[in-house]
């Protein structure tokens, strides 16, 4: 469980990134943190594994304050996948890249071998085992970065902008993968701009604006609240926009799921036929 107790944070440059954020993320939850550029999303999640320490307030990970333990210790529990894989890849082979964190955490060689094989298989990278990560495509590098974090099986997985630069198919794979991870009982936190992606995943949504949380609740409730989305500079999902245009026909617009929308429309046509 991650408890954020009303934290404040200011960067050395003087930018006040967080102005009193309270948040509790329970075990096994799936949370999407959304908001415009500079809202403080990444700053907030960097507090979850102790990369940043709050200026005021505190962050508890399983009742331990992030001030009292090192990032390396916290990382064992809270895995953080950075936005740009090029900020972490450095090894000669994909295999070595994934083993890096496992070595840091002091796993035994036999276990490392097993975990690496598992992670490669999980993200469909087995054929690249002996390839240099620098030779891979952007999407593949992103998967290597993800594998290198999942390999040590952290309880909480944080993904910073996982959908940027991914084509539709990769996005869909990623979505299924995240849902699956969450289904296995992992806490998943996603930082993203991608409204469509969130609409399809349907997690709990935490909306941030100017260093504060402005809304917190079900994806359906928040993404269809036009006043909120406008204030946070995000656009409602396309399917919601369609229904927003159809309010004259008596449709309610709190729809974010395509199959649900289809059902509503078919029901309407059936009704009209009769």
């Amino acid at each position: 469980m991650i408890e954020v107790k009303d934290i404040y944070f200011t960067y050395p440059t003087g930018v006040e990134a967080l102005k009193g954020v309270p948040l509790t993320i329970g075990d096994g939850e799936f949370v999407a943190i959304m908001g415009q550029n500079g809202a403080g999303k990444t700053t907030l999640v960097k507090h979850f594994n102790g990369l940043l320490k709050p200026a005021k307030g505190e962050v508890l990970v399983d009742s331990v304050s992030t001030r009292d333990v090192s990032v390396a210790k916290l990382a064992r529990k809270v895995g953080f996948v950075f936005q740009n894989p090029d900020h972490q890849l450095f090894s000669e082979t994909v295999e070595e890249e994934i083993a890096f964190a496992l070595r840091n955490f002091g796993f035994e060689e036999a276990t490392i071998e097993k975990r690496v094989t598992w992670a490669l298989n999980l993200l469909d990278l087995t054929e690249y085992r002996k390839t240099s990560p620098f030779m891979l495509s952007g999407g593949e590098r992103k998967r290597v970065a993800l594998a290198s974090v999942l390999a040590w099986d952290p309880k909480v997985v944080i993904l910073d902008e996982p959908t940027i630069g991914q084509d539709h198919r990769q996005k869909e794979n990623l979505r299924q993968f995240i849902v699956q991870l969450n289904g296995q009982g992992k806490t998943v936190v996603v930082v993203t701009h991608d409204v469509e992606f969130v609409a399809e995943c349907n997690p709990r949504v935490v909306l941030m604006s100017e260093g504060k949380i402005v809304a917190d609740g079900e994806a359906k409730k928040i993404l269809t609240d036009t006043a909120l989305t406008l204030a946070a500079s995000i656009v409602p999902p396309q399917i919601t926009q369609i229904f927003l245009g159809l309010t004259d026909f008596g449709f309610s617009y709190d729809v974010i799921d395509v199959s649900e929308a289809k059902k509503i429309l078919l029901d309407y046509f059936e009704e009209a036929k009769r």
Binding site: L51, A72, G79, H87, Q88, F90, A101, N104, V149
Partner: protein, 266 residues
């Protein structure tokens, strides 16, 4: 990264900021040469204080102090090395006091160099600098490369910080292990940093080509540097500084510090 902070230009105006960068650079060079002349403590102390008026007039005290603080680690290293090796390989007639003074002087010498270059970079905008280089007939390719390098230092510093965060999040502990292990700990930081710097430079080159870089062989400038009264004053000052430096070096015997202090126990 605090050392870099002390070299980062910020847009403010002061009489020092408005000086011709060529003359300012000449002054720093004169300062550099005179500093290298001396290995005695007293003249270096004088040189150290000689910079202070510039710092105060330019109003960059805070940044300047930060650059000094950033240099402290190296200064200490220089002191320790000079003292330890001076002690191990001392000749029979060097006294402890002389050795101490020598080590202190060497550290101070480094500090004076850092401080004068820091003042120069703090008060000279990269644009001014490239203008100065261009008007000194340096080919524009070199000028451009130089200013780009200067401009990208903060970008690289920020990137290094992100990479450090990313590797720490994978359990890397930079401060763990003996000296060699600690140096090796930086490999996962350096490789992504270098790779991305190379990648960025290629992208920059492509972006420049697509914006017709080098299309006209002869470039003109919106601003042109011209020497003003203050510049001539500084130029004269630099020459006088150099002259005094040479004079003192060859014709004045510099008293050791121990003359003014009680004798040391060793």
């Amino acid at each position: 990264m605090s050392v870099f902070e002390g070299f980062r230009f910020r847009h403010v105006t002061s009489p020092i900021h408005r000086l011709d960068p060529r003359v300012k650079f000449l002054y720093v060079l004169a300062m550099f040469v005179v500093t290298i002349f001396f290995t005695e403590f007293l003249p270096l102390l004088v040189l150290f204080f000689l910079q202070l008026p510039f710092v105060f007039v330019a109003g960059v005290k805070r940044e300047w102090l930060r650059s000094l603080r950033g240099a402290i680690f190296l200064v200490t290293l220089i002191f320790v090395f000079n003292f330890v090796f001076g002690y191990l390989y001392r000749s029979t007639y060097t006294t402890g006091a002389a050795l101490l003074e020598y080590s202190l002087a060497m550290s101070l010498r480094f500090l004076v160099l850092v401080e004068s270059f820091s003042v120069f970079f703090l008060t000279t905008s990269p644009d001014h600098l490239s203008l100065a280089l261009e008007q000194s007939r340096v080919p524009y390719e070199f000028t451009f490369a130089f200013t780009t390098a200067v401009r990208f230092v903060p970008v690289l510093a920020e990137e290094a910080q992100t990479i450090m965060d990313a590797q720490k999040a994978r359990g890397l502990e930079l401060e763990r292990g003996n000296f060699l292990k600690r140096v090796r700990n930086y490999i996962p930081i350096l490789i992504p940093l270098i790779v991305s710097a190379i990648r960025r430079s290629l992208e920059l080159a492509e972006a420049m080509e697509s914006r017709a870089w080098g299309a006209t062989p002869k470039r003109t400038n919106l601003y042109v540097l011209k020497m003003k009264r203050g510049d001539f004053v500084l130029l004269a000052l630099s020459i006088v500084l150099l002259a005094i430096g040479v004079y003192v070096r060859y014709f004045v015997s510099i008293p050791p510090l121990s003359l003014f202090l009680p004798p040391l126990p060793f």
